[in-house]
Symmetry: C2
Subunit: 123 residues, 2 copies
DNA sequence: CCGTATCCTGAAGGATACTG
DNA sequence: CAGTATCCTTCAGGATACGG
């Protein structure tokens, strides 16, 4: 069996990279929500209950840096800002949808694994 | 637009749970490798270059706790141990393959996003 | 309304050395 | 060969308070 080099696993494996990108806590939620249309921060915060102002801004800034999200500022008072997906961002919706669909069909199994994981952490 | 409650996002969203499970550094690699057949720890370490003995054991223990991997010990000297996927583990190969395939077809885009991410970290 | 700055805790994960 | 134990660094991410 062919070995997977360290460099390959760390830097070249797109599969792992994708999982890593998507595991940032609010990333899938934000991308998915933005795929429904451009949104203002207030709306986003309202939809993703539990996200703090800090994490909202921070995650959006990251997505912006990654080239996934675009920030548009309207110069009015009070401030009006809108976030939308770039074309790159649109593409990222695909794997989320893929995993989402599979996850829906297999939620029992995931719940089992995830539950066992939580249980083993607290022991 | 319907809000996603904190509890829903944290505890009920199978999509996020799955991403979270798979983002543990060596999890996708180990599950995928084990899907090629039962393996001894030595073989696994040889294949996943860069994994430390600690992380190998630790991750395998976790997967065992989650019900994804089975550990079989043959009582001989020197010790002989084998790891294999449970039926639950076999199922987990599916989403990995799904993401893997998509990632292969879109490695350019992922590389772009991932690269931008790395770049923005070091600035 | 939108964003920034600081502080703080836990957890991930690598290095190393030791056991049967 | 397989596994355990310790130490240490980094960082995600939450709480809180302030600014335009």
């Amino acid at each position: 069996m062919k070995p997977i080099s360290k460099e390959e696993y760390d830097l070249k494996c797109s599969t792992r990279q994708l999982f890593e990108l998507m595991s940032e806590k609010w990333v899938p939620g934000l991308i998915y929500t933005l795929s429904l249309g451009p949104q203002r921060p207030g709306k986003l915060a309202g939809r993703l209950q539990g996200i703090s102002k800090k994490m909202l801004t921070q995650t959006l800034r990251n997505l912006e840096d990654w080239g996934v999200v675009k920030r548009t500022v309207y110069d009015v008072v009070p401030p009006h800002v809108e976030y939308s997906l770039t074309s790159l961002g649109e593409k990222m919706v695909e794997p989320i949808a893929l995993v989402h669909d599979w996850a829906q069909e297999n939620r029992e199994d995931i719940a089992k694994v995830f539950g066992n994981r939580l249980a083993s952490k607290t022991s």
